[in-house]
Structures are given as structure tokens and as C-alpha cells.
């Protein structure tokens, strides 16, 4: 369904004909920013409908900014586990917080029915960290029955942490995310609400957000939704009202320095989308590349999976050092680029494409990202990697020098989808550290990316290579259309894979998803020679020694080995000197398998998984062998090239003698 009316700025979101989502968590918020004090003062009315099958006897409210309140928070403790101590030398002003002043259940007329403040307490169900303040709970005296509404009024104050992890301030740039007291999700088993962990993202119900943000006059505001009105608020401030239906979060940004650009996305068969770009002045020359990345997501994801329904999207180019780049929020996202960004490398296109792509998975499908981030990140990375291959070429490897400022583009190293933009190297190094099925917030903090993004992408691309892109596109399209706005689980996705392919895949997901097994197939032995035998054979006079050589025939022996625990059916391809190729299928189960071929010519090469269907194979170099290998040639070539670098290094240091 398309939100066609939302295309017209004169028509408010109230006029939407039919809801796309259950709209059971609706937020009406007033908030005022004090830039000097770096604080927000807000009040909100939450209208929540119990869509579950059981009564709710309590509420859970997230206070995400309390993750930045003390070094004892769960969030910061997790960062410290991997040697990252961002608040190690923080001063008092660097810490952020979110503090509820009042919280009450209210009646329809706004009068207080029950003051919940006395019952409000901090809880830490995930790690029993009594110092964590990122999740609260309050018991209700009157349960909320299935289908009933609960209206909560909350007033709070929050202070921004200093330019920190996707929320914060630098200079006059404010990026405001996870900023308001927010309900958990009430599901079959009760409340799903976790503390704020270093790797967990977010999960919440869909609803209508009507938010009035008061900021200094003249400052540009970008937010989830579309601006409905702008009014003087006195004291040199202006109130901007943004409204959006059918979203599960609300983020905003403000700065007096943004350069604003707009462009309209139009593509045959897809609804138009107004793209609004809020750009840092130093990136003015990169405006078109931001639109290119966004339009690529809208076009390809739209064609492949389904149309983007909101009619508008806001791209925020984050300020230097804001640490707010590369994050998605409904109808708004942050990109992130560099002042010097050479063409021919997908910066900023990649991050913009990726975050715009999240609008489809995180934004609409909206699975529980605190527990199963891969179902969003993996599907999105898989998709954006394909878009990059189709639409954003060339894409060369770039490295930066001199304090990480000066880019150097390696025209000899074009990034390939299968290995580079699927981040094979990251998976190769850390793919076995955790199982993908581990709840995301319980993953070892350093492995989240390697698993949720990269292993998941390679898993999906392996399926694509096994079943073809067309089948995989149908899988994702079916999943997207069936489960959008419904919070699916991994098993829902696996069921769609089985359904569309017509084949069971438990054997595959048991290994790739539910275990930390890795894959490595190798050609262990490869030889081709005239078959000869020696030994004692029966003869009329008894056992006699005999030597036998079969002229005109060569016996080729290939030993294929499975070096890791992962099992995957693979092909073995042997090529002979006359050009003949023989392909054998192997179920890959045994630890090793011998293949023997008798031919009039010698074999020249043998490969296991020659098409590299199994992209999860961590060591592909050992997948092949040839009779006349070029290893010496390659090793000589590259060691000589390396030697020039070393000589140059010596000459650079010779400056000091």
C-alpha cells in the first residue's frame, strides 16, 4: 500500500487512508532543547494498546541515555570487555542521563488515574547489574487486558552524552536518538525489553509519532516523518512539529550549519519519494553521491522486494567526530563520509545505501534487533552488496594516510561482491567466535559485526549461489511482504526459505545459524600418472613377482578433505590436458573422499567447489591444485614488489643518517 497522500506537504499524516501497521504504541511528545546545557526537557503521552493474548500487570520503560550515566552501566562494561574505555577519562559533563520526573497512568480526559513514580524501579533482567539504569519497570494496580488501552504521561529530562555512540553533540550539531522514555514490546511471553548493551540495537512497536521539538530559531531540524508546522515559541526559539504514522521509533537532528538539498526519487513502477539531505558544509560537493546511494536503495529494494511506502526520506550527513554516522531510524538515517572522498569508491554511497536499505528491514519488517540483529543487518548487507555490484561500480579499495586523512585509491584492487563487500575477511577472522543464533546482546562485543552482518550476508549469498538470485530474491520478497510490520522471528524467515525453494534447509541453518561451525574443503592430494602395480600375483607355479604398467592410460587421483566441522555438498571438478572436464558431486559428509579417473591424458587441475558456491569456506586457496602451479612465479613477483617498499622504507629512514 502506498502512502500517496503523504507526497503532498499540504496533507497531514492524519489523512492517511488505512494503517500499514497495528499502531499500538503511539507517542505524543513535546521536547525542548537547551543547546548550552546540552539538555532535553520533555513530556510525552503514550497510548499503548495491549495486542497480546494475556493481561499486562506492569510496564517496562527504556531509558537508553542512562547507558552513558556511569562507567558501571552494562553498556560501558561491555565495551570495557574488549578493551574500549570511552569514558575512562570522562569529566562530569561528558556523562549523559535520562531521568523521569513524573510518570502516571492517565484517563482519557488527561486526569491522573495512578501515579506510577513510587512504583518505578530500575531493573536489570539480563545481567543483574544493579548499577545499570537503562531499563525501568512499574507494576500496575489495574492490569491492561488484551485489546485494552493504557495511557501514560511521562515528564523527563535528559542530558546528551558528549559526542558519543550515535547520540550526542559536537559543536552545534545535535543528533537525538533513543532519547525519550520508550515502552518495550508486550508479546506472547510478556514484556520483551532488554537493558542497553553495547551491541544490541532496538525493538519497539509501531505507532503514530506526533512530536513537537523546540529549538533555537534558525536552526534546521530533520526528523522522522514530515514537518507539519513551525511556530515561534518565544525566547528566540521555534517549535517544529513532525508527524509520522506506522513507525516504531523517532529520531531527530538539529544544527544551524546544515545545508539543505532535496531531490525527488522517481522510477517506473515505484511511488515517488522526496529525498531531503541535510549536509555538512564541507561535504557540499558530495550531495549528488548521497542522493545516488539513497535512490539506489529505493529503486533496487523497491523492485526486488516491495515499494517504500512513506513518500519521504531524510538523509543526515553527520558532523565530524559526532560518532552518529551509519545508523538507521524510520524515514531518517545518518550517512557518514569524509571531506576527501575520491570517486570510484563507495564512500559515501555504501553507507547511505546501507542505511536507506534499513528502511525496508529495520523500518518495516522490524524484527527484534536486540536479540536477532542479523535478521535485519544480514538481509540488508546481502542486499546492499548486490546493489553495489549492480549499480555502484567501480568501487576500489581505499586506504588513508597521514593521520587517516589522505585517501589513496588502489585501482588494481576493485572490491568484489562475493568476498569484499560481503566482508569475507571479517568473517574469516572471527566467524567461529559465537553462533549466529546467540542473542545479539549476548554476543561477545567484538564479534557482533563479523556475525550479524558478515556471516549472515555470506550465509545468504551462499544460498543465492545454491539456488540462483531469482530464487533468493523471491525468498526475500516473500519474507518482506508477508512479515512487514509484524515483528518476525528467524524461524519465520527459515520457513520462507523452505517454502520458496521447495527444499528443507534445517541441515544448513543448523550449521550456519545454530552453531559456530566453519567450513573448509581442500584438495589434499592430486596426481596423474600411468597406473602401475608391483607385487606378488598368482601363477601356475605359485606366487610370482610381477610389475605391470598400463600404457596409454593415466590414472588421476584426487583426495578431497573436509578440514572443518561444517558440512556442505560440493562439486569436484577435474580438468584434463585435452580440455575435458569431469565433475563429481560429493555430499561433503565424510572427512575425506578419493576420486579416481582413468583417461588417455593427464589431468591438469582439480578443484573442490569450483564455482565457490560455499562462500562460507574460510580458506579457498586450498580448494584447488594444478599440475603446473604458478606459486613460485607469484611469490617471486610479490616478494620483489614488497622489496621495493622495504627499500623505500630504508631510504626514508636514511634521511636521518
Amino acid at each position: 500500500m502506498q502512502d500517496t497522500k503523504a507526497d503532498s506537504p499540504s496533507v497531514s499524516a492524519e489523512a492517511q487512508p488505512a494503517p500499514l501497521s497495528p499502531r499500538n504504541a503511539n507517542y505524543d511528545i513535546d521536547v525542548t532543547l537547551d543547546p548550552a546545557a546540552r539538555t532535553l526537557t520533555g513530556s510525552e503521552t503514550i497510548t499503548w494498546r495491549n495486542t497480546g493474548a494475556m493481561a499486562a500487570y506492569s510496564i517496562r520503560v527504556h531509558l537508553y541515555w542512562n547507558a552513558f550515566r556511569s562507567t558501571n552501566s552494562t553498556w560501558l562494561k561491555q565495551r570495557k570487555l574488549v578493551g574500549d574505555d570511552p569514558f575512562g577519562e570522562a569529566t562530569e559533563a561528558d556523562f549523559g542521563y535520562s531521568e523521569i520526573a513524573t510518570i502516571a497512568v492517565i484517563n482519557d480526559d488527561g486526569s491522573v488515574r495512578e501515579d506510577l513514580k513510587p512504583a518505578l524501579r530500575y531493573i536489570s533482567p539480563d545481567d543483574q547489574n544493579s548499577d545499570d539504569r537503562s531499563l525501568t519497570s512499574a507494576a500496575l494496580t489495574t492490569a491492561v487486558q488484551p485489546g485494552e488501552n493504557l495511557r501514560l504521561r511521562i515528564t523527563w529530562t535528559g542530558r546528551f552524552p558528549k559526542n558519543f555512540d550515535r547520540t550526542g553533540v559536537v559543536g552545534n550539531y545535535f543528533f537525538v536518538s533513543q532519547w525519550f522514555p520508550k515502552l518495550g514490546v508486550f508479546e506472547a511471553g510478556g514484556w520483551t525489553a532488554h537493558q542497553f548493551f553495547a551491541n544490541s540495537e532496538f525493538y519497539s512497536d509501531f505507532g503514530r509519532y506526533d512530536v513537537r521539538m523546540t529549538v533555537p530559531s534558525g536552526w534546521v531540524v530533520g526528523a522522522t516523518g514530515r514537518e507539519q508546522s513551525r511556530a515561534e515559541a518565544g525566547g528566540g526559539k521555534t517549535t517544529h512539529r513532525y508527524v509520522q504514522d506506522d513507525v516504531h521509533d523517532f529520531a531527530w537532528t538539529t544544527s544551524p550549519d546544515f545545508i539543505e538539498r532535496t531531490q525527488r526519487f522517481e522510477h517506473s513502477g515505484l511511488p515517488p519519494v522526496e529525498m531531503r539531505l541535510l549536509l555538512q558544509p564541507e561535504h557540499e560537493g558530495l550531495a549528488d553521491r548521497h542522493f545516488t546511494g539513497t535512490a539506489a536503495a529505493l529503486r533496487y529494494y523497491g523492485e526486488w522486494y516491495g515499494a517504500y511506502p512513506y513518500g519521504h526520506i531524510t538523509i543526515v550527513d553527520p558532523a565530524f567526530q559526532s560518532d552518529s554516522g551509519g545508523m538507521e531510524y524510520p524515514t531518517i538515517f545518518t550517512g557518514g563520509t569524509r571531506w576527501l572522498s575520491p570517486r570510484g569508491s563507495n564512500d559515501p554511497e555504501y553507507v547511505v545505501l546501507h542505511e536507506a536499505g534499513h528502511q525496508f528491514w529495520h523500518g518495516m519488517v522490524a524484527n527484534n534487533e536486540t536479540e536477532r540483529a542479523w535478521l535485519d543487518e544480514g538481509l540488508n548487507e546481502f542486499s546492499d552488496s548486490r546493489v553495489q555490484a549492480e549499480a555502484l561500480q567501480p568501487n576500489y579499495f581505499v586506504q588513508r594516510f597521514f593521520g587517516d586523512f589522505i585517501p589513496w585509491q588502489f585501482r588494481d584492487l576493485p572490491l568484489k561482491r562475493a568476498t569484499d563487500t560481503n566482508w569475507m575477511n571479517s568473517y574469516r577472522r572471527m566467524g567461529d567466535r559465537d553462533a549466529l543464533s546467540t542473542p545479539t546482546f549476548q554476543l561477545w562485543p567484538a564479534t557482533h559485526q563479523a556475525l550479524s552482518y558478515h556471516k549472515a550476508t555470506l550465509m545468504l549469498h551462499t544460498l543465492e549461489r545454491k539456488h540462483t538470485w531469482d530464487v533468493m530474491r523471491k525468498v526475500l520478497a516473500t519474507f518482506f511482504n508477508r512479515w512487514q510490520f509484524k515483528h518476525p522471528q528467524p524461524d519465520d524467515f527459515f520457513a520462507v526459505v523452505d517454502e520458496v525453494t521447495g527444499l528443507p534447509h534445517a541441515w544448513f541453518f543448523d550449521q550456519v545459524y545454530r552453531s559456530s561451525n566453519t567450513f573448509d574443503y581442500a584438495i589434499e592430494r592430486f596426481d596423474s600418472a600411468a597406473p602401475a602395480s608391483r607385487g606378488l600375483t598368482e601363477s601356475p607355479s605359485g606366487l610370482a613377482f610381477a610389475e605391470k604398467t598400463t600404457a596409454g592410460t593415466f590414472r588421476t587421483t584426487v583426495v578431497v578433505r573436509r578440514l572443518e566441522a561444517g558440512i556442505f555438498p560440493v562439486d569436484v571438478l577435474v580438468t584434463f590436458s585435452n580440455g575435458e572436464q569431469v565433475r563429481e558431486a560429493w555430499d561433503g559428509r565424510a572427512r575425506w573422499q578419493v576420486f579416481t579417473f582413468d583417461r588417455p591424458v593427464k589431468a591438469v587441475s582439480a578443484q573442490v567447489d569450483p564455482e565457490r558456491v560455499l562462500l562460507l569456506d574460510t580458506n579457498y586457496t586450498n580448494n584447488s591444485r594444478e599440475m603446473e602451479p604458478a606459486a613460485e612465479e607469484a611469490a617471486t613477483k610479490w616478494s620483489l614488489r614488497w622489496m621495493v617498499w622495504l627499500q623505500d622504507l630504508m631510504m626514508t629512514y636514511a634521511f636521518f643518517v
Binding site: T419, P629, A631, W642, M643, W645, Q647, F656
Partner: protein
């Protein structure tokens, strides 16, 4: 003597000393060879009989490269994309500017090269100062004469450079730079701050380099035994000829930049093989010439300003009856 004259005189002196160029180039080659062979062994062992070797030999197999990096250790870890073409130059200059030091696996080669250079520089300066052939015996005798003097000088230079690269660099880039960046929302400004700090850091480094260069020149030309005296004399020369010394240094630096630009234009891609090696070695030869040009032109300037071209206080050293033998034996 003018800056231009010193520069061109220096260039002619280098031209008239081709064996110096060849010798210094060979010294880099010989020092780099053992680790190159080790890397060759690692790469060869990793590729084995794999078909991946074919694409690595013909061009670049980036996936294999990453796989190799994930599984290698020691010198293999230095085989990164930044060794390719002109990126190698950027990587090495960037390492100096950011005081990151050479990768651990090759530190000993750099240290060995510094030791070899310390040994050779006496002979190099002696040859360039005389501006006529002195033969291998004369050259190495001169190396022997000056090596212990320059080792003593290097105690001071190592201390000064260590102070600059550790204390001053850390203060500028780990102390001042983060403070400049506090609350900064524009990367471009940060870049110019860093550029400014590079300049601030570079000035004392260049100045120290100038003084040490002229200390060595004076030690050789005037046959100074006291390195404190040579250092003081080098300092006096730079102070009294500040414009010329700096101007010549700038001109030589420009020549070095021209060499780097040439390599930027000619640096081979991944596909080339024998030609790439040849271009790479030609570049190293040019870098050697450039290094010698600094020494030769500074020597020419000193001789032109205070004495006369080709003057050296010490007669050509003879082997085995050289003063070096006296220096290493009991008096």
C-alpha cells in the same frame, strides 16, 4: 657560492661518483633480500599448488591476499596493499610524519640499514668532498676513519630525534591535537590543524637534520675528531649561512619531491612483473641519488663558503696503513 651553484655542483659530484650510487643502491638491495626471500617462502608455501597462484601471478587476487594476511605472521603481516606502487611511498612518509615507526617485523632491517649508513657516510662524504675517485680502498678506509666518530655523533642525534619523535610528537599529536579537536565539527579544519602540527613538528626535525648534516660535512672536510666540536661547527655554519643552508635544503627537498612525483606517474600496477621490479629499482636508485645530492650539495656549499671546492684537510686514506687501523688498534 650560491644555492643554485651548490645544487648543480652537488649534482655533478654525484654524477662523477657512480659507484657511490651503485654501492648504496646495492646496500639497500642486500639488506632487503633476506626478508624478501622469507616473504617469498611464506607466499609460496601459502599458495602451494593452488590455482589461486595463477591469478596472483598474472595480476592481483585480493581475496587470496586477504586470506594470506589472515593466516600469516611475522614478515607476512607487512605484505599489505600499501606496498603497491606509490602507496608504498605514502605509507612510509606517513609513518615518519605520524611517528608510527616501521612495522615490527622489519625493524631490524631498518636498524641494520641505519648502522650500515652510519658506517658508509664517512666514505661517502669523503668521496664527495674530494670530488675525484679514491678507489674502493680509499673509500672504505675513509669509512673506517669516520665510523667511530659518527657513532659518537649518532649518540647525540639519536637522543635529539628520540626527543623529537617521542616527546615532542606525542605532545603535539596526542596532547595538543586532541585538544584542538574538542568540539570540532568539521573534518577539513581538523586536517588543517594536523597539517599545521606537521609543520610545527617538521621544523625542528629539519633544523636538527641540517645541523647534523653540516656537522658530518665539517667532520670530514676539516678532519674533526671531536664530534661535539663538529656539531658546534655545524650549528655555527647553519646559523651564519641560514638562508643558504635552508634554501639549499629546500631545493634538494624539491628535487626529492620531483623524484616522488616521477614515481607517482610511473609506479607500476599489480599486473606488471619484471617491468614493475625494474621501475621500482630505478626509483630506489633515484632516491639514492637524491640522498647523495643532499650530502654532495651541502658539502659543496660548505666548501664554497669557507674553503674551496674539493678541499679536504685529511689526505686520502690508504689501506691497510690507514688511520683507521690506528683507530681500532692500540695507540
Amino acid at each position: 657560492m650560491s644555492i643554485g651553484a651548490a645544487f648543480s655542483d652537488g649534482l655533478m659530484r654525484v654524477k662523477r661518483a657512480p659507484w657511490l650510487v651503485i654501492g648504496l643502491w646495492l646496500s639497500t638491495l642486500v639488506l632487503a633480500l633476506p626478508l624478501s626471500l622469507a616473504l617469498q617462502g611464506q607466499i609460496g608455501a601459502h599458495l602451494g599448488d593452488s590455482m589461486a597462484a595463477r591469478s596472483a601471478a598474472d595480476g592481483m587476487n585480493f581475496d587470496w591476499w586477504n586470506e594470506f594476511l589472515a593466516q600469516s605472521s611475522g614478515v607476512g603481516q607487512t605484505f599489505v596493499p600499501a606496498i603497491l606502487g606509490f602507496a608504498a611511498v605514502l605509507q612510509n612518509l606517513s609513518g615518519i610524519a605520524d611517528a608510527s615507526g616501521p612495522p615490527t617485523a622489519v625493524v631490524w632491517v631498518v636498524v641494520a640499514q641505519l648502522m650500515v649508513s652510519t658506517f658508509l657516510i664517512g666514505g661517502v662524504l669523503d668521496r664527495l668532498a674530494r670530488d675525484h675517485a679514491i678507489g674502493a680502498g680509499g673509500f672504505f678506509s675513509a669509512c673506517g676513519v669516520y665510523v667511530f666518530r659518527f657513532l659518537r655523533l649518532s649518540i647525540v642525534s639519536v637522543a635529539v630525534y628520540a626527543f623529537l619523535f617521542v616527546t615532542v610528537h606525542r605532545w603535539l599529536f596526542d596532547g595538543v591535537y586532541p585538544r584542538l579537536l574538542e568540539g570540532l565539527a568539521a573534518e577539513r579544519t581538523a586536517f588543517f590543524y594536523r597539517l599545521g602540527l606537521y609543520a610545527i613538528f617538521g621544523l625542528p626535525v629539519v633544523f636538527a637534520n641540517l645541523v647534523f648534516d653540516y656537522a658530518k660535512v665539517r667532520a670530514v672536510v676539516e678532519d674533526r675528531r671531536s664530534m661535539v666540536g663538529a656539531l658546534s661547527a655545524g650549528w655555527r655554519f647553519v646559523r651564519r649561512n641560514l638562508g643558504a643552508a635552508i634554501g639549499l635544503y629546500a631545493l634538494n627537498s624539491l628535487a626529492l619531491v620531483a623524484v616522488l612525483l616521477l614515481y607517482y606517474l610511473a609506479a607500476p600496477g599489480a599486473a606488471a612483473n619484471a617491468v614493475a621490479f625494474a621501475i621500482g629499482q630505478l626509483f630506489i636508485v633515484l632516491r639514492v641519488i637524491s640522498r647523495l645530492q643532499f650530502a654532495a650539495s651541502q658539502t659543496a656549499l660548505f666548501q664554497g663558503r669557507l674553503a674551496h671546492a674539493g678541499y679536504t684537510a685529511r689526505p686520502v686514506a690508504k689501506w691497510p696503513d690507514s688511520p683507521a687501523a690506528d683507530a681500532i688498534g692500540p695507540a
